[in-house]
């Protein structure tokens, strides 16, 4: 809490359609920005003015066109070097930009932290200070609630088993150090390796699950799925009102995920076109299929396309079966090619399904606006509050887990190099402190309690 590190956060609400402001404050704010901001105008960042340019990622690919405001200390809101970035209010863009900063020794600001810094640097007056305190108190309550919300289900199970693992390792270490005189079995280093390795794999799967988006509340992702050649890319193009994706009569045209963001009724939506799902010997196509399947698990809404003009087959049924466990409000069956003569068997089969369905023709663009309305109704029902808190809470957890991963790997290395337990315990303490940023305090007493309840201690 007494650190002077660099922090980032959104400072306007994240809503579809408009512009959003990000603030970076601290000693590396300008450095990091220079790394990713490309502008035709001046290359040296002068204070008190703004620059128009492109924000690029590590591969030099453009993330967004942005306006950057430079404030040099002490002439800034916080009194530190500050960069404010005005970018499109698109959750995906915001995340990418924030991530670039996080990868460069920056962290997500705590609730009220900009204002707190402003206060501590004498930038705001005493009356405002009281308000800051209120803000911090209320915001952190909200964000705790938020993280708890986000920690439902599978995720919280993983976090808890991670916590248990680390406490177990701590207990085994301390057992050796503090209770070596007891008549206890000696624990082999292998046991430690096992727990450490399982912890690292938990962290990895947590990071994966954040990556894959569902838990991250990434915003709304709409996946267009179906076997090859049913017209997925055609639908994508007609929803986008442009020829974004190659359409051809050759089955297996789309090989990778192709996504495009559009605003539908004020809500930002990411449309994803996928490779047709089928068994294939083509390696590239197969990889596309695997990716598409992974997205089936996490997408907010799936538009499952079926060709109404041909007889429903096993490929169709396979996909359908893999989706029946999904909540009914995250699936719409889109019968395509309604301009052609309908296949009786397919029609009959579909009519028996108790899932929302709609008939369209992607080619002729019939019923597309009807489909759009259906989609909007769905996403409004599903829409979680896209407030900045959620992204940031998520990003914070992600950030913590990334740090944790590195610490755990170091830890495992020290175990393997036969380092003394008292030294490994120092690293483990760091790991536990890091995890407690998500779980709330984990103390030495938790470790001692674990020892007392699992081992017969005491003469």
């Amino acid at each position: 809490m007494f650190s002077e590190d660099t922090i980032i956060s959104t400072i306007t609400p994240v809503r579809g359609g408009s512009v959003c402001l990000l603030r970076v404050s601290g000693k590396d704010a300008i450095n990091i920005t220079c790394k990713y901001f490309k502008s035709n105008s001046l290359s040296n960042m002068e204070g008190g003015r703004f620059y128009f340019g492109k924000f690029v990622d590590d591969k030099n690919e453009v993330v967004d066109e942005v306006i950057i405001y430079v404030f040099k200390k002490p002439k800034s809101y916080t009194g530190e070097d500050v960069i404010e970035i005005s970018c499109h209010s698109n959750i995906f863009i915001l995340e990418e930009i924030i991530n670039l900063y996080l990868n460069n020794n920056c962290r997500i600001a705590e609730p009220g932290e900009f204002t707190k810094r402003a206060f501590l640097n004498n930038k705001i007056d005493l009356v405002q200070a009281e308000a800051v305190a209120d803000l911090i108190a209320s915001k952190s309550k909200a964000s705790v609630k938020n993280s708890l919300n986000l920690l439902e289900g599978k995720l919280s199970k993983l976090i808890n088993s991670l916590k248990k693992n680390l406490i177990d390792v701590g207990s085994l270490l301390e057992l050796e150090l503090d209770f070596s005189e007891e008549d206890l079995e000696i624990i082999s280093r292998d046991k430690f390796f096992d727990i450490m390795e399982s912890s690292i794999s938990i962290v990895n799967s947590l990071l994966d699950s954040y990556d894959s988006g569902r838990e991250l509340q990434k915003g709304i992702e709409i996946l267009i799925a179906g076997k090859p050649n049913v017209g997925k890319s055609s639908l994508m193009n007609s929803l986008l009102q442009k020829d974004r994706v190659i359409v051809s009569h050759i089955a297996g045209t789309t090989r990778d995920l192709i996504h495009e963001d559009i605003v539908m009724d004020d809500t930002l939506v990411r449309l994803i076109d996928t490779a047709g799902i089928r068994f294939t010997s083509d390696e590239i196509e197969a990889e596309g299929v695997t990716r598409a399947k992974k997205f089936l698990e996490t997408a907010s809404l799936i538009l499952l396309m079926i060709d109404l003009s041909s007889e429903i087959d096993n490929d169709d049924l396979d996909i359908l079966n893999s989706l029946v466990h999904k909540k009914s409000n995250s699936l719409i069956i889109v019968g395509n090619k309604s301009d052609k003569e309908a296949n009786i068997k397919t029609e009959e089969y579909l009519s028996k399904l108790e899932i929302d369905k709609i008939k369209i023709s992607a080619k002729e663009e019939t019923n597309i606006s009807e489909l759009k309305r259906l989609i909007i109704r769905r996403i409004k029902r599903n829409e979680k509050d896209l407030s900045e808190d959620i992204i940031l809470t998520n990003k914070r957890q992600y950030d913590v887990l990334n740090r944790l991963k590195k610490i755990l790997n170091d830890n495992l290395k020290s175990f393997k190099s036969n380092q003394g337990f008292e030294f490994i315990a120092v690293d483990l303490r760091l790991a536990i402190e890091t995890l407690s940023e998500i779980t709330g305090e984990i103390s030495t007493d938790d470790i001692l309690n674990n020892i007392f309840s699992n081992f017969c201690i005491g003469k």
Binding site: M1, F2, E110, I136, A137, S180, E422, T444, K459
Partner: protein, 626 residues
Amino acid sequence: MNNYDIAIVGGGHAGIEAAVVSAKLGLKVALISLEKNKIGLMSCNPAIGGLAKGQLVREIDALGGAMGKIIDAAGIHFKMLNTSKGPAVQSPRAQADRLLYAKQAQLIISSYSNIDVVEDMAIDILIHSGRITGLGLLKNGQLKTKAVVLTAGTFLNGIIHVGTNKLSAGRAGELPARGLTESLLLQGFQSGRLKTGTPPRIHRDSIDYSKIEIQEPDKNPQPFSYSTESIKREQINCFITYTNNETHEILREGFDRSPMFTGRIQGIGPRYCPSIEDKIDRFADKSRHQLFLEPEGFNNNEIYVNGFSTSLPGDIQERAIKTVPGLEQAKLIRLGYAVEYDFFPPDQLIHTLETKLIENLYFAGQINGTSGYEEAAAQGLIAGLNAALKIKELPGFELKRSEAYIGVLIDDLINKIHKEPYRMFTSRAEFRLLLRQDNADMRLMEKGYELGLIDHKTYQKLQNKKNQIVEIKEKILPGKLSPRQFVDAFSEKSNAISQPQSIKDLLKRPELSLKELMTAGGFNNGFVDASILEVEYAIKYEGYLQRQNLLIEKFNKAEKKLIPINIEYKNIRSLSTEAREKLIKIRPHSLGQASRISGITPADLSVLLIYLEKHKSEIVPRETSI
């Protein structure tokens, strides 16, 4: 009755340290004990030290305390623990001759002409305008004093349980102390009940030694005190044996008469020191439990059956113990028992161990809910020292968590919630790597000397060590070993070198020790092991030590953000209710301390920080030695 500067209630390990330290500072001390010849008696296990506790004893000694010197004179079985591990987690332990220990303690007390031992019982505290003025004694009436250190151990309303029998007593055969708790409650103190236990003692001639394992003491016993040259006393063996299923079955027969299981004992016992009935109940699948048979002295027939603490009925104790190999014919001299006693939750104290409610009243030892002689002695030292300093109008003495286990102990006591008797563990010390038993002198003795608690000769030893450390660092470490010298000495265990290399570089190899390298290079002229170890540790673990030091810096920064005494927590609206209550109760002196109070969140700290900055100008900074 005479006037005293300081009255110390209780002649246990805390009381002794409190008396000695205040006597060293030249004050007139009354040591109030029920019986003179019970001063320094070890009521439980006749041993000093152990993991983490050994560090405490070394620290007490580096501050001029008595415990190290007493055990060095009375120890009959010294053992350095954890020798297979690094120096930071090694600890000395010694078995004591109980009678010699008490005699030695009494000898030290009587060597101070300014300590009067008063055989009496304190039953009341006398207070004038929030400050202690004296004690009411059972036999001698009123005793006037400027300060009181209360170290009543397990004597406050002590009740001993053996099976269904219940007896008011402080420990076996001694009276409990009555009235004191009640008079403290009247002043607004809160009290609770704790429980501890002790095993039966058996006659040493009734043991079949052919059936039990021998545990030998160290060949080269290491003294606890920095002023002790060497341990001269003859050393004796301890023994190990085990319980078995038959033992457990018999013990189970007594469960329906167990004061613990039938709810007659309300006090909470320590989980790290459970009774044997607790162990077999909670770990039912364990088929045996280890027992240490520890002689209580040379001319003492009693053997302490460590690991068999129990409050089961006498007949059960006797039958059960006879199923243990080697103890078939055991003659019980004393039964095991559980004792329940009053304690005062230590969040009622500040870092000097002075009570928040009454000025110049200090609490130390088991009365604060700790267990163990060493924890008690450490508190006795700090409480006595601070009482004396206060009377002399000198600033108080506190130790930081980064400086000493004593600092960790007291900081934990006053900030954390304790559900069971508190015992020191090395894992409680976040800066464990720096708080070694062998460097307590480097950490603390300078402070002890400045306070006038360390004699000149011992201090000179520290200066010598420091000079040697500098010399080794400057002259020896850059010294080089030739490939020839290296091969001659280490061909067996380390890869050869092709160029001459400095000792400092070679020391990075885990398999080589500084002492060996110095010998191989012909550099070892007259350096003591302690100096060599200090340098070796600093070089070998440089990375970790640097990281601990960084953490200490961060820690100190928070410790330096002081919270004024007159802060009104109820005016800080944004604090959570729980945080507000805690802060009002504990009254932390710094933001760092506040962060360690159970239940205070980072958000609460931010709120507090902002409030403090805002009201910077209006507040009275507090005096502090930190």
